[in-house]
Symmetry: C2
Subunit: 241 residues, 2 copies
């Protein structure tokens, strides 16, 4: 298996994704929220790259069973039903609903990944499920959403733990790019506990917004056994709308 | 002290460098070569971002005591005096000379760093000297040249060892960005031995060109006690032409 990790979106050649399974990671908080929503029964998540696009798509999907979700600068968008705190996405609120979601970094990463053969959504909360889902792939690309096109250590750590699971569980040699090697080394010494997440740039920004409690759920490794799959701009657990 | 590491050049806001001391790292091989040349008596190194610019600058500096150096796709440019293998830059060849140098990634990083208050050149070979030179700075930016705007694990490892030296030798707390934290974690488990450098993308590319022997010198930590300083496009040991 060949595994390429990319720590920032500008490092990705989207045309080169066509032959790969691509895993998108935005630990704080978009992919954690998507995993949470689908594990709690949401029918599908529709990522958009702007709040305006989200509102238009929600209108076209029909507002009665659609929720508008997402953040701008970390906070819920005015007029939206939900923000981007994973703990908001409980079964009572999201089961059976379509969620249209716009976030700062995660949905941009998903948009870029759309060129890939298969697109999976990963967070610490579904790490093992994703590792198993890609075990027999030949070419794997891991896209870290990062933070405004900058390196984000929380995403890199998640990528490293994912690669370690794949390499350690797998048979045969893996060919790793430089970032995959670095991510593995990072994951050897660090786990996503509250102390680690508190010290990240994204974690500090959430604390300033009064959202530090989000970090506990975001660091819960293997909380869910689900693999969200994106197909034709819709993310579901089955990969079909 | 605040320390910001950037793993790739597109992550750098060059305007934000104005208030900082900036350290440029391109382990394989530009900054290793610059350290080697100056430690061996070169009068100055003039980085340019293209082979054509290098030839024009060499002509204006006067060809009799100027050497044209650098690579394209790893190999010496046709008609140049030297390539980019640090071991070529011995005292007998470079002492007293001005070296005009064009490389793929390192000289681009130096060009970007030119906005900074003070620009230092770092490799494993002068790690301790650079760590001491920045010990009393308030804001430090570490630019990894990377590889064609992609993460390079050799540069990240060097950044991590540099940050570890600064943090461990320093007094008081350091404020680190996410990449600085990741680089430190990387450096805890890895040293730039031949096995490590052989496995990097840049190391493999050099091996394919028959230049794998360059890696031994590039991994020699603290081989020289010199700090190259760039001022007005010239890199010297004193910081003056």
């Amino acid at each position: 298996m060949r595994i390429d990790v990319h720590f920032t979106l500008p490092e990705v050649d989207s045309a080169a994704l066509a032959e790969s399974t691509t895993v998108v990671i935005d630990v704080l908080r978009a992919t954690t929220t998507i995993v949470e929503a689908l594990a709690n029964g949401a029918r599908g998540v529709y990522p958009t790259t702007s709040a305006g696009d989200a509102a238009r798509l929600a209108a076209s999907l029909g507002r009665e069973d659609t929720l508008l979700c997402g953040e701008q600068k970390g906070l819920k968008v005015d007029g939206f039903d939900l923000g981007n705190s994973p703990a908001e996405f409980v079964e009572e609120i999201v089961a059976g609903k379509k969620l249209v979601m716009s976030t700062s970094n995660g949905t941009r990463a998903l948009s870029l990944a759309a060129e890939a053969q298969r697109v999976l959504v990963c967070a610490f909360t579904n790490l093992g499920a994703v590792a198993r889902a890609v075990a027999s792939d030949e070419v794997l690309t891991v896209l870290c959403a990062g933070r405004a096109d900058q390196f984000a250590v929380d995403d890199a750590l998640c990528a490293g733990h994912l690669v370690n699971r794949i390499v350690e569980d797998g048979e045969g040699l893996c060919e790793l790019n430089d970032a995959a090697r670095a991510a593995r080394a990072l994951a050897k010494g660090l786990s996503p506990d509250r102390a680690f997440l508190d010290g990240t740039t994204a974690g500090r920004a959430l604390a300033e917004l009064g959202l530090a409690d989000d970090l506990d759920l975001c660091g819960e490794v293997d909380r869910h056994d689900v693999v969200p799959v994106m197909l034709d701009q819709a993310i579901t657990l089955s990969g079909a709308r």
